[in-house]
């Protein structure tokens, strides 16, 4: 008989043999060397003194130049000067909780501009000078301030990290890195946070939409992606009325394309799919064993979160809208089921009431 011990030993040995070797690749990606680079201070004390001294001086005056330039921009809006002394905007990072903040970063992932997209964003940025800092550090600082100012709580636990960049691959990479960084930063806090990460394919239409409605590009993009999920009641206007938390919940529940969730957005405010179905069944005087094809989706209508419930019974198609937070029945409809032999999406606009079996 083959012993437990041997089974385990063989399992471990097979898996160890199957594990790929990605050490070199990881070290390169993380920019790690076996002998860590000596710090500037150590270099100054060492041999190549002159060279590093110069570098230090240059970087100091460079920094002074940047703060002068920043002042200039505020005073006269001399964007050209800014461009000359700094890299071009390489990527734009949006952080949305309720405060929305947009960071422009250069190719070295340093912040070259920070802008509040709404009033709450101004509150967060008021006492912060993020220019020149590493974008990851900047994001953690912003999130930290959102936490202490009470914008992130157990019930409103979600934030959105959106990145747009000329280079999609690099953009995805930055998004992933920032989401991971914020996630581990929040691991130390008292709340269980959820992060929605997305890469934004910026275009003029999207920029106009964001600007007209005073929202970040990231929020505009999520609204576009939510519209593509085909919610029956969803409109752009109604999505615009939702809070960031509600938009993230919808992104999560409707599995919007390109949305990557870390953690789970809090949905305890809502009655849940099963209760929504029960509420509809209760109203119809049916129980779950009698019906077929039940479908429950989270949706939004007139700026409120709803469950869209559908099922079939006795040759009829039932449709309900249930308020997601109270379970109240907002609307109910019963129609002859003209879709009985059709596996496709259930189109609510059917008005030809023939229930024969043509295709």
């Amino acid at each position: 008989m083959i012993e437990n011990n041997e089974i385990e030993k063989r399992l471990a040995s097979a898996l160890n043999a199957a594990a790929p070797d990605m050490l070199d690749e990881l070290m390169a990606e993380l920019d790690l060397t076996e002998n860590p680079e000596p710090s500037l201070r150590e270099k100054l004390a060492g041999d190549g003194q002159e060279r590093y001294k110069k570098a230090a001086i240059r970087s100091r005056s460079f920094r002074a130049l940047i703060s002068c330039a920043a002042a200039l921009i505020i005073l006269v809006g001399a964007a050209a000067v800014w461009k000359n002394i700094n890299d071009r905007v390489f990527a734009v990072v949006d952080l949305d909780v309720n405060p929305s903040i947009e960071l422009s970063i250069n190719g070295k992932e340093k912040v070259i501009g920070a802008e509040a997209v709404n009033e709450d964003g101004e509150v967060i940025l008021a006492d912060m000078d993020l220019r020149g800092s590493d974008v990851k550090v900047a994001c953690n600082a912003i999130v930290g301030s959102m936490l202490t100012k009470g914008y992130l709580t157990d019930k409103s636990n979600s934030l959105m990290v959106s990145v747009s960049a000329g280079d999609p691959e690099k953009g995805h990479e930055i998004e992933q890195k920032l989401s991971d960084g914020i996630s581990s930063y929040l691991d130390d806090s008292d709340i269980t946070a959820a992060i929605l990460g997305q890469y934004v394919e910026d275009d003029d239409e999207l920029e106009d939409f964001a600007e007209e409605n005073g929202i970040s590009l990231g929020k505009a993009w999520l609204i576009r992606k939510l519209m593509e999920t085909g919610g029956q009641k969803m409109t752009e206007e109604s999505l615009l009325e939702l809070s960031t938390q509600e938009l993230i919940v919808l992104g999560q529940e409707r599995n919007a394309e390109g949305v990557i969730m870390q953690g789970t957005a809090y949905t305890g405010e809502y009655i849940g799919y099963e209760n929504a179905l029960s509420a509809a069944l209760g109203d119809a005087g049916l129980d779950s064993s009698q019906i077929t094809d039940p479908e429950v989706e989270m949706d939004c209508e007139n700026g409120a979160m709803i469950y869209e419930v559908e099922f079939r019974y006795g040759g009829q198609e039932y449709e309900y809208e249930i308020a997601a937070s109270t379970g109240e029945i907002i609307k109910s409809e019963k129609d002859i089921d003209d879709d009985r032999n059709d596996d496709d999406d259930h189109d609510q606009d059917h008005d030809d009431h023939d229930d024969d079996d043509d295709d």
Partner: protein, 179 residues
Amino acid sequence: MATLQLDENLIIRMASNDGAAFRELYQQTSGVVYGFAMSILRNKHDAEDVMHDAFIRIHASAVTYKPSGNPMAWILTIVRNLCLNRIRAGKVCEELPEYDELAGTSNDSDTMLDRMVLETAMNVLDAEERQIVILHAMTGFKHREIAEILDLPTGTILSKYNRALKKIRKEMESKGVDR
């Protein structure tokens, strides 16, 4: 079975970008990280992706690591979360993995038998059983420690562990491996 002991200082050293510490941590944990990801995802390609992301995450999170006396559990929690995120995001391949590829090219009888045990475990065990047996096999953790990582009661771990090994043994015996 020897318990996989990991020096907490490695993580602390990693926080200051110490490449040697990263190498050492990788060498001690890469097999377990991969094996645990395989046990959850049951797919070679996804497990490789998670392994890659896990080491990036471990490196990034080293700064916030709070010494707890069980760094391996910390690492395995990172791996588990990455796997679960992946499943939740619907990114996991549903196809059955190619077990032939699993154990490399060597064809000696010992390796073949290793591969056969792995293949059997992957085929006859359910997800929780796979995780329990593989964690036990690769880390030597106590059932209580595995219970904490998997967020399951210790009793469940014990009974599932025993049932899982019985299943593997039975299947192996039916394939004529009986010794």
